[in-house]
């Protein structure tokens, strides 16, 4: 017998088990895929061949959604996901995915047929849909009100920045081989990586302010040194070295791009599968029994009680 969660015996926050690594893959695929589509479009504006990054972007998003399909209990009822656009960000994510795939398919197909003008138009629409898709993903987490580390409002800018950062970093690794580099890609990647680090710090600070389960914070803090130093400082240094024409530029850029993308993926894995604790039980007062008196209540396992 497998249950997605076991009953708590105590009042403490505990790790959610409703969503596992497959759900994390959806956020990884959605974010990176969106980033790659944006970069494919920007590359196209610069007159570069964009089929491969656009195809990779679509593949990332498809992979994420496939993982979700494998996670849900009744995959053959998947169409029911479209029933609640009024309030459900999961429905909205599904709704946006429809034109995303239709236009993305059209863009890739028309590009193969050599109709580059109209293909570009579809690529632009696909990119807009992908940004909408990413926004829905950020809001899905915010609406998960049972998980303090997800509902935290400062997670939204992080999710919105992380996807483009992952996509741009991977695109830089690709562009350096495919186009021999693009002058604007590395500076853009550096800015995004720095912004992502700042967004993470802002998120962590928001959690501190509004309170969160101690063990969630511990997990995030354990990750932080590697996340900042290896996942952010190192790729920025590698990109700066590449910009300064250090020896082995393509390798420096590839390594930096891959590391920056991996750092974003790792953070999402940790967010979904390890830092996602429930809020547990909270009582503001203890009851008055007999001739006793009421005492301050408790919120076990929390900071900012």
């Amino acid at each position: 017998m497998k249950h997605s969660r076991k009953v708590a015996s105590g009042p403490w926050p505990r790790l959610q088990r409703a969503w596992d690594i497959r759900a994390a893959f959806n956020f990884i695929g959605g974010g990176t895929g969106t980033g790659l589509l944006v970069m494919a479009f920007l590359g196209a504006l610069d007159g570069r061949a964009w089929f491969i990054p656009a195809f990779a972007g679509m593949a990332f998003i498809s992979f994420g959604l496939l993982m979700v399909l494998l996670e849900i209990g009744k995959p053959w009822r998947a169409l029911n996901v479209f029933h609640h656009p009024q309030t459900s960000w999961m429905t909205r994510e599904g709704v946006v995915a429809l034109p995303l795939f239709a236009c993305g398919g059209a863009a890739l197909g028309l590009n193969l047929l050599g109709m580059s003008g109209i293909a570009m138009f579809f690529l632009a629409v696909t990119t807009l849909c992908a940004l909408g898709f990413l926004y829905c993903q950020a809001r899905i987490l915010r609406a998960a009100r049972g998980i303090p580390t997800w509902r935290e409002i400062t997670l939204t800018p992080y999710i919105l920045l992380s996807g483009p950062t992952e996509g741009t970093s991977l695109f830089a690794a690709f562009a350096v081989w495919a186009y021999g580099g693009l002058v604007w890609v590395l500076p853009l990647a550096i800015v995004l990586i720095a912004a992502r680090a700042a967004a993470w710090a802002y998120y962590r600070n928001g959690l501190e302010k509004r309170g969160a389960p101690e063990e969630s914070l511990e997990v995030l803090d354990q990750m932080a040194p590697g996340f900042y130093l290896v996942g952010h400082a190192l790729p920025v240094l590698l990109f700066i070295a590449a910009l300064a024409d250090a020896p082995g530029v393509p390798w420096l850029v590839s390594l930096g791009g891959l590391i920056a993308a991996l750092a974003g993926w790792q953070a999402k894995r940790v967010l979904i599968t390890r830092a996602a604790r429930t809020q547990g039980i909270a009582i503001p007062r203890t009851p008055v029994r007999g001739r006793g008196q009421s005492h301050p209540g408790a919120r076990p396992g929390w900071i900012n009680r």
Binding site: A8, P11, G73, G146, W150, R285, T286
Partner: protein, 219 residues
Amino acid sequence: MTKYAMVVDLRRCVGCQTCTAACKLANATPPGVMWRRVVDVETGTFPNVQRVFVPTSCQHCDNPPCVAACPSEATKKRADGIVTQDYEMCIGCGYCITACPYEARFKVEDVDFAYGDEPMRHEAEKYNDDMNGVVQKCTFCVDTIDEGIAKGLTPGVDPDATPACVNSCIANALTFGDLDDPDSNVSKKLRDNQHFRMHEDEGTGSNMYYLWDKGEIRL
């Protein structure tokens, strides 16, 4: 209008888990799934510690985050306040589990019974294949309520129209009734006692009230 709510008197609950057992019997929930549970909370620091038993389940919130999140409309709020679950609509995405601030929802992946492969009598009677692979939670014993009302009974007053947990409580710590009726037992208890709702700051509008002292509200 009618708005069903549960009042839990924390002064009376002794943590015996009879309501938990009654719920498991009434709803034949599989092992590991407890629509109703009683959590043991310790407060204070040694040697000044207190122990509080907190019965909890789905709170049938006024603004249920689970309903807002659900992409399939499998979970809905009725006009009488009860939050329902449609096992035939649910896709088992588990989003509602993460949306619920009260840990009230459970996804069952596979068939399982309390004692191995063979169901006990009550499990066999209640077995519903549609409940596998989807999410389930406390229903306030909605079928009992509906059947009771159809017979002219009053939920919260007549046991045949009242949730099993409330009927079973050995300490009379649980009360069920209509919050919109000023003369209902729940309305009277809330008028005469100080109370709180859990995670009130989340704005869910929980319909499970905890009494902690007599007198007017002065938290």
